[in-house]
């Protein structure tokens, strides 16, 4: 198996040496994990009561509520963000400077400002100017922050997708007499969306993770439920590790979906795959 071009298929001596390195690494890892285990055990973190407390029905009900609140905020935000992204990208692609330049500034602004800063601002702003209940207020603030940020990111993704559509397509569309709006709507957008799908799903993972910031403005999502559970079972570390497992499961499922879509599209030819990669280059890493 040549997993990489960086090394040759190892011979018997090298293979033994690699096995030795592998064993050393494994032993080191196990030693560290064992040390952590002993420390936690000595600290009383791993008492059976903790796990008994955590397996109670109301704990799982709280986790269920948290997952629902997290998914709700993420779903609303991603739908609104896709809409906003399309709008901003259309503006950004416009030939009219008075439309293009403000759209560009809006995109640049919301891409550069931390999501948490926006959430805190909206939370305070809404509390002052509207008469929502606190929970609604927090949800609106979370959704507003996530929508503006992801909308700005998706606008750039959409723009890259439109630019990745081969020039010949656009020229052919103009040649048969379509107007500018029609070319964008009928020819460029349907193809761009195909290139964008994997990028949109990666952005869903980012959105799902960022809903955890709602914790700071008291939105009752998974992490905040985790905090209440931690207080209830008197154990922070184990509870948060459990919450982490749930997040990892949700996001891994989404990532699998993204790579499945990407594989499905790459079957249709190299150009589509290249276009997908070109689109993903504009995604912020992190």
């Amino acid at each position: 198996m040549a997993a990489s071009v960086l090394f040759d298929e190892p011979g018997p001596v090298t293979r033994r040496r690699h096995q030795l390195y592998g064993v050393v690494l494994a032993v080191l890892l196990i030693a560290v994990l064992w040390w952590v285990y002993l420390k936690l055990k000595a600290g009383g973190e791993l008492e059976p009561e903790v796990f008994e407390d955590l397996s109670q029905e109301n704990v799982w009900r709280a986790i269920g509520e948290g997952v629902v609140a997290t998914l709700k905020a993420a779903a609303i935000s991603i739908v609104l963000a896709v809409g906003l992204g399309f709008l901003l990208a259309t503006g950004r692609l416009s030939e009219h400077a008075p439309v293009r330049i403000p759209c560009r500034w809006v995109i640049e602004f919301f891409r550069a400002v931390p999501v948490l800063l926006m959430m805190i601002f909206f939370f305070g702003f809404l509390a002052q100017n509207f008469d929502f209940e606190t929970e609604t207020n927090a949800l609106v603030a979370v959704v507003a922050g996530l929508t503006l940020y992801n909308g700005a990111v998706l606008a750039e993704v959409f723009r890259a997708g439109v630019n990745a559509v081969p020039r010949g397509q656009v020229e052919a569309a103009y040649a048969i007499g379509l107007r500018k709006g029609q070319v964008l709507r009928i020819v460029q957008t349907p193809q761009a969306v195909r290139y964008m799908l994997p990028a949109i799903i990666s952005q869903c993972v980012v959105t799902l993770k960022d809903t955890a910031l709602g914790f700071i403005i008291t939105y009752g999502e998974l992490l905040r439920q985790g905090k209440s559970i931690a207080e209830f079972v008197h154990n922070n570390l184990i509870t948060f590790l459990l919450i982490a497992v749930i997040y990892i499961a949700m996001n891994s499922a989404l990532s699998l979906l993204a790579s499945w879509l990407e594989r499905r599209m790459s079957v249709r030819g190299h150009s589509a795959r290249d276009a997908v990669l070109q689109v993903e280059e504009v995604l912020p890493v992190g």
Binding site: V5, F7, L25, A112, P114, F125, L213, A244, Y247
Partner: protein, 234 residues
């Protein structure tokens, strides 16, 4: 804008903490990220498994949760780091930029470890972008894995890695805002405090802090562009 002007020194100090945290976390992220990338492309299966597992686990966990796990986990391991440089400079009063309390250190470690997984992926894709012939040629003249990586592939990958690493660093600087949630008095924390004290000026305070972050982002992307131009093949 009165609130920001009246509290100018606090605002500057808060952004100073943000910058300190970003620089320290960047060092952690780059070192750990490069090591992970080396593990992920190495000929040792156990190493590849460790690298892959780390990236998969850390990338799919919210940063705030990682900060909480570090903050509650490290004390269990009897690690409660604290660093106070005030006495080095002969200062009587504690200056915020010279005292690194546990919250700051925990948040910085968490931010660094979180970003390391993205650095690893950026470096790995940079390594994969190098033409096969380069590594093949290096091996055919008898270079080992380490020599191939360090002397042939990484120097060329450097060029391909700058743009994604720049976006990673920008994302990391913005992500340092999450530390406000674990009690680090950086820029976002300062904004929350100011908006609580001056609720009537919330819009102008928000715009002021947003501009502060935009300046930081612009600086990092300018540095990235500079390095990219310098590394470009003319």
């Amino acid at each position: 804008m009165d609130a920001i002007r009246d509290n100018w020194s606090e605002v500057l100090t808060a952004f100073g903490v943000t910058i300190e945290m970003s620089v320290l976390a960047a060092i952690i992220a780059l070192v750990v990220g490069f090591l992970l990338a080396a593990l992920r492309v190495s000929p040792i299966p156990v190493g590849r498994a460790i690298g892959t597992a780390y990236v998969q686990l850390v990338r799919n966990t919210p940063l705030l949760l990682i900060m909480l796990i570090v903050a509650f986990g490290l004390p269990e391991l009897d690690l409660r780091p604290e660093l106070n440089l005030n006495s080095w400079f002969g200062l009587e009063t504690r200056h915020a930029l010279l005292s690194f309390d546990v919250f700051f250190i925990f948040a910085t470690i968490a931010l660094g470890l979180y970003t390391a997984s993205f650095v690893c992926e950026a470096v790995r894709s940079g390594i994969n972008s190098i033409p096969l012939g380069q590594a093949e040629a290096a091996r055919s003249v008898g270079m080992t894995f380490g020599q191939t990586l360090l002397q042939v592939v990484l120097p060329q990958a450097y060029r391909a890695v700058i743009p994604p690493l720049t976006s990673t660093m920008i994302a990391m600087t913005k992500n340092s805002s999450v530390a406000a949630g674990v009690g680090v008095t950086e820029a976002t924390f300062a904004m929350r405090k100011l908006t609580n004290d001056h609720a009537d000026q919330i819009v102008s305070i928000f715009i002021g802090f947003a501009i502060g972050y935009m300046v930081l982002v612009a600086l990092i992307s300018a540095a990235g562009n500079f390095l990219e131009r310098r590394a470009a093949v003319s």
